[in-house]
Every structure is written in C-alpha cells, then in structure tokens.
C-alpha cells in the first residue's frame, strides 16, 4: 500500500504531467507541420480577428444559436467544463501540494465551493451518461470509448470527493484519486479529450472561413 502510494504520488505524477504537456505540444506541433504540408488553406485563410470572434461566441454561455436552442445541455456543459478546470487548480488540497513541493502558492477556494463544484462535475457526468443512453441521436454515435472517457473524467472527482470527506476506505480512495487524475491528464492529448487542445484551432479556422472569406457568422 505504501509503495503504491509513493508510486502514484511521486513518479506517476511526473509521468502524467510530462505526457499531458509534452503530448499536447507534440500533437499541436505535428498537426501544425502536417497542416503546413497538406492543408495549406488552413494557414492561408486563418484570420486572427475572425478566429477570435468565433471562439468568443462559442466560449460564452448562450453565445450561439444552437446553445440558445438547447438551454439544458448548454447550462450543464458550461458548468461541467468550468468546474472541471477550476476545481483541480484551486482546491485547497492541491494548492497545498504545490506549496509543499515547489513552495509556490495561489488563491484557493473554500471547501464548500469545492464540494459543490465537484458534485456538479459528477452530476454532469451522470447527465451525459443518461443522455448517451437515452437520446437516439447521441446513442447512435456512442462507442465503448465514450463511456471509458466519461469514466476517466468522472473518476478523479468521485474518488477525490470520497477521500476529502474521509469516508471509509479513504486511503484506497486517495490512491485511486491520484491514479485516475494522472490517467485523465495523460489521456487528454491522445483521446477525444484532445478537443481541449484543438478547440481553438477548429473553431478559429471555421470562424476565419465564415468571417473573412464568406462574410457570414458561424454561431
């Protein structure tokens, strides 16, 4: 148990961060090179103003027509992504780890806020799961990997919540929490979670094509 704890809290953290950061850079750079070779249009038509104009409309809640048409999924998706990013960065436990390891610190959120936001993430995952199982248009597209990805995202939050509340088996929960968090970080560049790194490029390119060439809005 002790060895396992040392492994997940030591070397695997490094591995996860290296895979996450290195992998993301690798994906972006290889794609940029490939685009240069095969998709010259991407560079020719990419237009900063229109790219950001489109990104802007798609990162603010209800900024696009489709979001307005679908208020439930829009609200859930925005809360989910927001909490998913904020909680791991600003939760006290994590901030303390940074302080202990590297002597750097930043603002942390109150425990209650962290609890609520964690529950929101888990709830959103349940919502996505139900949506995948019940909505024909989503079910049709769903593959086994979609459930795996949902599990990868939900796991650190479920186990983290478990450990933070010191429920029975918290030691195991803590180890699972670190392990699942590491899996999620490492998975981002190499799975469909890579939409995190590619979103600005795909959206920005479509925004440029619509805005700069076709003089139309794409939201």
């Amino acid at each position: 148990m002790h060895t396992l704890y040392n492994l997940v809290s030591g070397p695997l953290v490094w591995v996860a961060f290296i895979l996450f950061i290195g992998g993301s850079l690798y994906r972006i750079i290889t794609m940029a090179i490939l685009a240069k070779e095969k998709d010259g249009a991407v560079y020719a038509y990419m237009d900063t103003y229109h790219a950001f104009r489109s990104i802007y409309h798609w990162i603010i809640p209800f900024g696009s027509r489709n979001m307005k048409r679908k208020p439930v999924i829009t609200s859930v998706a925005f809360l989910f992504h927001l909490c998913l990013i904020l909680v791991p960065i600003f939760i006290l436990g994590h901030v303390m780890l940074w302080k202990d390891s590297f002597d750097i610190a930043w603002w942390y959120m109150p425990d209650l806020a962290a609890d609520i936001m964690t529950v929101l993430v888990i709830g959103a995952c349940v919502f996505f799961l139900i949506r995948r199982l019940t909505q024909p248009e989503v079910k049709y597209l769903t593959t086994a990997s979609d459930f795996v990805l949902l599990g990868i995202v939900a796991a650190p939050f479920i186990t983290g919540f478990w450990a933070a509340h010191q429920w029975p088996g918290m030691r195991t929960a803590l180890i699972l929490h670190m392990l699942s968090g590491e899996i999620m970080l490492a998975a981002i560049p190499f799975t469909r979670l890579s939409h995190m790194i590619f979103f600005p490029f795909t959206r920005g390119y479509m925004g440029s094509e619509f805005g700069a060439v076709k003089h139309a809005r794409d939201w």
Binding site: K38, D39, R65, Y140, S194, T202, R203, D218
Partner: protein, 454 residues
C-alpha cells in the same frame, strides 16, 4: 421573434426504432460498385488519405466528441423525425470515420452505401458547422467521401453524366458551341421585339463586365438571358458574353469529387474573362457556381481569392438599385417570402443585400424562419438534384422541414417564394409540388424585369 419560433420547434416524435435504409437503385452506384476489388478500394483510399488530406481530417475525426449537437442543423434529420442516421455526425460515422478507422479496408457494399449517403443525403450546405461547438467542417468530410467515390467510379449516373458533359463541352448541359451562340442570338431577337436597339454583345473586348450564366439557361431557361439582357440594357451597362466555351461557370465536377475537372472548368472560365480583358465577372442567380468560382475552384487553381473579381447577381442588382441605374415603375404587389441560398448566404453573406433588393422591388415581404445564415437548405444543392430522378423522392421527402417552413410563411400571407439560385429553384419547385403548397416561385430577375421602368 426568430428565437421563439425556433425554440418552440421540436422534433415532433422521436422514435425508438427507425425504418432501415433501403439502397436506391442507381446504375452509376450499382455498376460502379460491382467493378470494385478490395485492393483497389484500399489503395485508392490510402492514396486520398495520405496525399490529399492531412491535419484537418485527422483533427476533425479525433475531435468529434460524439455529442450529437449537430443533429438539429440538418434538414434530413428533421424531416426523418430525428432518425440519427441522418444527423451530420451520423453520416460521418457511416462513412469517413469508418474509412479512416479501417484504413481503407472496407468492402464494395460499404463504398456504395457511403457514396449514396455522401451524394444524396448531404447538400454540403455547411449549416452543421454552425451548430457543432468545435466548428467541424462536415461538408469537407462528405466531399472527401465523394472524392474517394469518384476515384473509385461509384458516382450516381445522372450527376456523372453532367460531369461528362463538363469534360466534353466545358458546360453542364451538352450545349454545343454553335448552339450557345444561336441561343443568345435567338434571345436577342426576341428581346428586340420589345426593345429594338437591344443587343447581347458577344466577344466585346474590354467590356466592363463578363456576364456568366449556367448551362440550364440556354438549355431551358432562356428567358433568364432575355431578362438579364433587358436589365443590362436599361441600366446602360458595358457588358459582354463570350462566344467560346468558358461561358458556363456551373460545376458539377466540384460535387462529384472530380477536382481536376473542377480546376479545368474554372481555368477556362477565368481565362475567358482575361482574354476579353473584362474588369469583372458578373453572374446570374446561381449558388453552386458562385461557390465554385469564389471558394472551391479558385483554390484548386491556387488562387486564394478569384483572380478576377466575381459579383453575384444579388450584389449586382443591389448595386444597380443603389446607383439608381434601374428604376421601379410599380412595385410587385403579391406578398413574397425569400429563401436564403446556402452558397451565397453561408457562402458569401449576401442575405442583407438580398433583402435590400427584395424591398426595392416588392411591397410586401414576409420573412420565413429560420432565415439568413440559419436558413434550411432546399435539399437540391450540393449536386443532390443532379443525381436525378432515382433520388428525387428521397430528396423531397428528406426536406419536409422546408415544406413546413414555406407553409408557415404562406400562412402569414406569402404567395410567392423568391429563390435567387438555380438549384434552390429546382428543389423548391419539387417541394412545392410534392407537398401541394400552391406557391409561386420566382427569381429576383423575374420580378425586376416585371417591375422595372423600360
């Protein structure tokens, strides 16, 4: 107003089980698929994936989160009561993502099915890119499927015939060189009965404008050339038409996946305007031809933007009204509604200009909803109407939502639908008939001709 209308519109009854797809018999698809071998399929697909696609396709395939939010962008999805196999991502799943995943190891049946989906169930209207949170270009992915199907020779017969016409005659409708000139002289003669001094200038070097039409105009909509000539004459425009191939800017090769031919067609077209030293090309009310010269054909020829300015009819009419070059005698009084064609609205943002022109010539304009960039396609575009009679019912039944949209405009009083695009015209004509909407259909040019001072 717009928002409430759209938000209240829901797929009426989503079902648990949707009827299975039955392949529509088509000589081009069936015979083409019969000739395929696994080796040929694999090597063709690999060549397209390795040599013609790159980061875009990879990122699009990797990024799609299977969220299904693109579904309600598609008129086919709406019109099939939410059948997920008609959603944009559903069509991707059945075609290109399978092709990429299996690296080309798919069988002839699969290719036939994928070709039918890409050629007849997607109008490449790009509405889904406005509904996908990531802005994935699904039209591009469907075009990639068409490219593969073209190289494999699995293309619906009718549109392939049109593509053959393009390669043999440089126009869409097998119009021979002398027939083209004859048609213009004939229209000039007809128009001269009304305006004796009217001319259709041929081969006039240095004219400001090269006026370009598409194959169907000399073939069976010759009155449009007549009307255009009258408008040009009354506006006092310095214009000309070429007496050589290159007059037709339509392009079904762009839609079959025959990019090489698309390039040849646009090259002849641009070079004709350059030979005649025209300042710009003005074209009739056509959507796909505009896409071809403004967006796709020029790119194949490595022109970031067209090498010579291209003006769509809507822009041109707006210009004539703004500069008061044509005056309206008495505005058109029947209530009208306007269909926004994808290729000049999502493709060029001409929606406000179109409304300006409509308001200049009509007294009573009723919007249909959704409109502008969010308008539903006519389901004829993207070459779908050119796949011909075998797929007619599929096309018309696949766009019930458009009939509902037209009916809603009609119930507010609209009697005439203005569709400033040839394909939209064909598509809407079929929809109006099939759903018994009893609405009239007109080009902007029809109405301008009717109401202008002359």
């Amino acid at each position: 107003m717009t928002e409430t209308v759209i938000r209240s519109r829901k797929i009426k009854e989503k079902k648990r089980v949707y009827p299975p797809r039955r392949p529509v018999p088509d000589l081009g698809l069936d015979k083409g698929a019969e000739k395929l071998t696994p080796e040929r399929i694999e090597s063709t697909i690999r060549s397209v994936l390795d040599n013609e696609t790159g980061a875009r396709l990879k990122v699009y395939v990797d990024t799609c989160a299977h969220c299904g939010l693109c579904s309600e962008a598609c008129h086919f999805y709406w019109s099939h009561d939410g059948d997920p196999s008609y959603s944009p991502a559903g069509k991707v799943k059945q075609t290109i993502s399978e092709i990429v995943k299996k690296k080309g190891k798919v069988d002839a049946d699969f290719i036939r099915g994928a070709a039918e989906i890409a050629y007849t169930e997607c109008n490449l209207c790009r509405r889904c890119s406005m509904y996908c949170p990531f802005g994935i270009d699904i039209a591009y992915m469907m075009l990639t499927v068409r490219r593969i199907a073209h190289l494999l020779g699995v293309v619906p017969q009718y549109i392939q015939d049109t593509a053959h016409s393009h390669s043999a005659t440089m126009n869409q409708m097998w119009v021979k060189d002398d027939e083209w000139i004859d048609s213009l002289l004939w229209q000039e003669e007809e128009a001269a009965e009304e305006i004796p001094e009217l001319r259709i200038p041929l081969e006039k070097e240095g004219a400001d404008i090269l006026y370009s039409v598409i194959g169907p105009e000399p073939k069976f909509r010759a009155q449009l050339i007549y009307q255009a000539a009258v408008i040009m004459h009354e506006a006092g425009v310095d214009w000309t038409m070429p007496a050589t191939p290159g007059w037709d800017n339509s392009d079904m090769c762009m839609y079959t996946g025959d990019n090489e031919m698309m390039g040849r067609l646009k090259k002849v077209h641009f070079e004709t305007a350059m030979r005649l030293k025209n300042k710009r090309i003005v074209m009739g009310e056509c959507g796909h031809a505009f896409r071809s010269i403004f967006d796709m054909g020029n790119r194949w020829l490595a022109w970031k933007m067209p090498p010579i300015p291209v003006t769509h009819a809507i822009e041109f009419y707006a210009e004539l009204f703004r500069d008061k070059k044509i005056k309206v005698k008495k505005k058109f009084e029947k209530p009208v509604t306007l269909h926004d064609p994808c290729n000049i609205v999502r493709g060029r943002g001409l929606h406000e200009m179109a409304r300006y022109v409509v308001n200049e010539i009509c007294t009573d304009f009723i919007e249909m909803h959704p409109n502008r960039e969010h308008n539903f396609c006519c389901s004829a575009g993207g070459g779908v109407i050119n796949t011909g009679p075998p797929f007619r019912n599929k096309r018309v039944e696949g766009n019930r939502i458009k009939a509902e949209q037209l009916f809603a405009a009609k119930s507010k009083g609209a009697q005439v639908v203005i569709a400033p695009c040839h394909n939209c015209h064909g598509g809407l004509e079929d929809i109006i008939h099939h759903y018994n909407l009893k609405m009239e259909l007109k080009f902007l040019g029809d109405i301008i001709y009717e109401v202008m001072e002359r």
